[in-house]
Each structure stands twice: as C-alpha cells, then as structure tokens.
Subunit: 241 residues, 2 copies
DNA sequence: TCAAAAGTGTTGCTAGTACACCCATGT
DNA sequence: ACATGGGTGTACTAGCAACACTTTTGA
C-alpha cells in the first residue's frame, strides 16, 4: 500500500457508487463499514485519476470492490452542496479515524485534502449478487449487502444518493431493459416478476406481467425447471443479447 | 474587472449551460462568440465558487448571461473525458487568446489553471427568448441565438453537450411539463404544437395534439386572439401554476 | 359566399388490467 | 385424485392515431 499522492487525482471531485444486487426477493445495496468510528457506513467510492475519464474511474472503483469487469454502470447525477462534507456531522469522525488508521498512507495534508469540500458524481451499478466476492478497500472493516429498505445511516449525504439512484433505476428499468443485469444468466418468469416487485415496491399480477415481458421479445425460452415441488415446472429463460 | 482568484473556485470542475429558447418555429441555443480566435464559438459556462452549490453556480452563471432569475434549470449529465480540453484542437487557440486579451485578469498561472483538464457538469435551461437580453461575458464578442439545427462547430466537446441536453429535454418534456417555460405567458394551441414539433423534429396532427394537451389539465383558457386573418380566432391559453 | 384555419366528433387500434380457465407436477 | 402453482385466453378499458366534419373570421 503506497502513499497517497494527491497530484495523481482531481481535487474536490469524487465518485460514489451505488451497487445494486438482488437476492432473496430484496433489492440490495453494497455498503462498507469503515474501520474507524462506531457504526460508520459509507458507499464505495473513490477519486478520479488525472489520466482516466470519469466513466473509467467508476469502472475501476467497481472493479476494485467487486472483482467484476463489464458491469452495467450508469451515471445518474452529481451532488454538489458545499456542506455535504464540510458541514457533515461525520467529518470530524472521519478525520480522526484517518489519523489513527491511515497515518502511513495519509499525512495531515492528505487528510485535509480528503475531507475538504467535494462534489461527487453518482453512478449506479447492476450486478449479479452471487458473482460478486466483495473486496474490502483500505480502511474498511467489511462490505455488506443490505436491503434498500433498511439501510443504516451513512456518512454525509450517502442515503440521499442511494434514494436518487433508486429513482433513476426505476425510471430506466423499462426503457432500457437493464433489470436482467441483476439476475443470474438463467431465470424463471417468477424471478423476473419478483425482481420488478422489489424494485418498484409494488405487486404485479403474474399473467399480465408475463405478457408484457414476453411482448418485449428479448427473452429466449430454454427448458423447464423441475424443482420437485408438486406443481407445473416453470420455463427457464435467458436474456437475448 | 478584478483579477481572477483561483482559490475561490473548485479546480478542474466547470459548469456548461445549454440555454434553450424558442422563436420562429425553431428551437434555439444561446452560444457565445469568443473575442479571440476566428470563428470560435462556445457554450456559456463558468466555475464553481467554494461557497456555493453546483445548482447555485449554474443559476449564477445563467443570471450573469441572461439577467433572469428563477429560470428553469436541470442538471443532465457530467462530461469527464480526460482529453476533452487537453486533447482538444482548440486548447492552444484559447490559451493564445487569453494571453492576448486577458492579461489583466489571467496571469500565466491562471491560464494554465483555466486550460487544464476539466470535468464539466452540464445543465440545460429553458427561457422565454423574448425576455432575455443577453449580456456578454468577459472575452466574448457577442452572444447569439442559433437554431439547434445549424450550430457551428464549438470549442472542445460543446456540440456533444448540446446533443445530450437535447436528448434529455425530449425525455423530460412530457413527463415534467416543462415546455411552457420556452413560451411567453400567453400562447395559442398552435404555438405549443409548433414548439413540440421543433423539439421533436416531427409533426403532430393538430386535433389529437390538442386533445392530449388539454387532457393534461394544466392550461387555462383565457380569450381569443384576433389577428386580422380571415379565419377563426384561436383561443389564448396560459399555464396553470 | 368563399378561403383559411380553428375546433370538435367518430371510429378503430393497441396496450394495459381484471377475470376466468386449463395444464403439468409430485404426493 | 388433488393441491399447488404455471401458463394461456378472453373481455373490458383507456389512450392514441386517422379520418371526417362543423365553426369562426375577414375579404
């Protein structure tokens, strides 16, 4: 772990990622518990190298945390209140934490840099939760998938960022047919339906939902899924590319 | 005109505004001709004060150029390719121009600052073109309303920024009912229709368009407009607030 | 009375919703 | 056979597009 060289990055501009996953009928977000402070949670994020685009920075940050390449990523909004960090109740805790835990990497000047005013560009990512083996970043105790319904209070304005990402996801879901990125390769119609229900927090009747999705003509029907249950075996689908 | 104090601003982060107006059946964009260089055009933009939010910065920049307060403003995307300025064919021209025209305000260090790598946050604004009395900024020769159909080549990636703003405007038009911001207080149904046609570059049949708009239940019918033409006088509408 | 264009009405299509029904599966 | 849930079909509705028609205005 080298020293932090602030000249390599753009100052006062960061990227925060809302990584969505789906599991157990719940829409989940990957959040990280910081090593310092008690009960300090935060969205995975990072800074932008002078040599890379903001999209590349987001991909890189995601790659570092999830090990996954070629993830569905979408920029959804920039957050730029002047007091989103400076005025935050969390700033002092973060500064103290960095001094204790990160003295090797961050000297005082770097700590000032990291906790100065930041504008952040929000990205959201859609991943197959089962494929992700989250890697903790520096100064993170662990990463955790948490249902969007019961997220803890997070540092700064990260709860608001998740809300905005969720709104944007809902808006884009039908239009861009991106929901399948949250599912495994193969899935049943019921699974898609339950995914949509988790995202919209709303029930859809099966028959009409099925008609709508099949009408999109983006699914390929593969075989049947015999679960051992005493009912008709559902078809297995995959997303046509 | 004071000296430029870079400490007052966030470095490497700018705001560019796509100011839409409507006139003569055409969707127009307010662009500025730079004082230096030949045929150098650019979008109105600016930097973000350490003390203000990015939304406030966009409002301020707009206020400075149009004299208008309370303008409809929407952030639509951030642009962050590392070579959008550094690799741009325009960079050297801009640097030379600033050295010639702006020596009082920008010393060499400031010129380096201004022409370094920038991430920009794009906002679009909708204004009643007739209410705007454009004020030239520093180092601008004049501002001009140009139809979105025949914009000149602009500096850096500003043409792409306009395209993205146009896409975003189209997406939001129906959803958020923001089109009326481009019209005067009072207007006829034909005028709304022609505005929509200009934005979508597509014709709409009058009768169905009228039904749709009236169905939104956001218009108040005022009186009739007698133009002297030998045809039935159209109703005048205004937008209900 | 006529031309121009505003405004209204009617019909048919399509997409979405609600309801009912049949089918496959394992006990 | 039967309970369970998967899958399909039909009727109803709302919203949109295409057509035709009437009304107003000033020459």
């Amino acid at each position: 772990m080298g020293e932090f060289r602030k000249e390599d990055y753009i100052a006062q501009l960061s990227i925060d990622c809302v990584i969505f996953g789906y599991n157990n009928n719940e829409l989940k977000v990957l959040i990280s518990k910081l090593s310092y402070g008690e009960d300090l949670w935060s969205l995975p994020g990072g800074f932008i190298l002078q040599t890379e685009s903001i999209d590349q920075a987001a991909s890189r940050i995601l790659m570092e945390r999830t090990g996954l390449d070629n993830i569905y990523l979408e920029q959804f909004r920039a957050f730029g209140s002047p007091d989103r960090i400076i005025g935050s109740e969390y700033r002092e805790v973060v500064r103290a934490g960095l001094r204790d835990f990160a003295a090797k990497k961050f000297d005082d000047e770097a700590i000032d840099w990291v906790t100065s005013r930041f504008v952040c560009i929000g990205y959201y990512a859609l991943v197959d939760l089962n494929k992700v083996d989250p890697k903790i970043g520096e100064f993170e105790e662990f990463l955790k998938w948490v249902s969007i319904e019961d997220l803890p209070n997070m540092t700064h304005d990260h709860n608001e960022i998740v809300e905005e990402a969720h709104k944007s996801l809902r808006q884009n879901l039908d239009e861009k047919l991106i929901g399948f990125n949250l599912l495994p390769e193969e899935f049943t119609m019921r699974e898609i339906k339950e995914l949509y229900e988790a995202i919209y927090d709303k029930e859809f009747p099966m028959n009409n939902f099925q008609k709508k999705i099949l009408g999109l003509d983006v699914l390929e029907r593969l075989g049947k899924k015999y679960t051992g249950a005493q009912n008709r075996a559902p078809y297995i689908y995959k997303f046509k590319k």
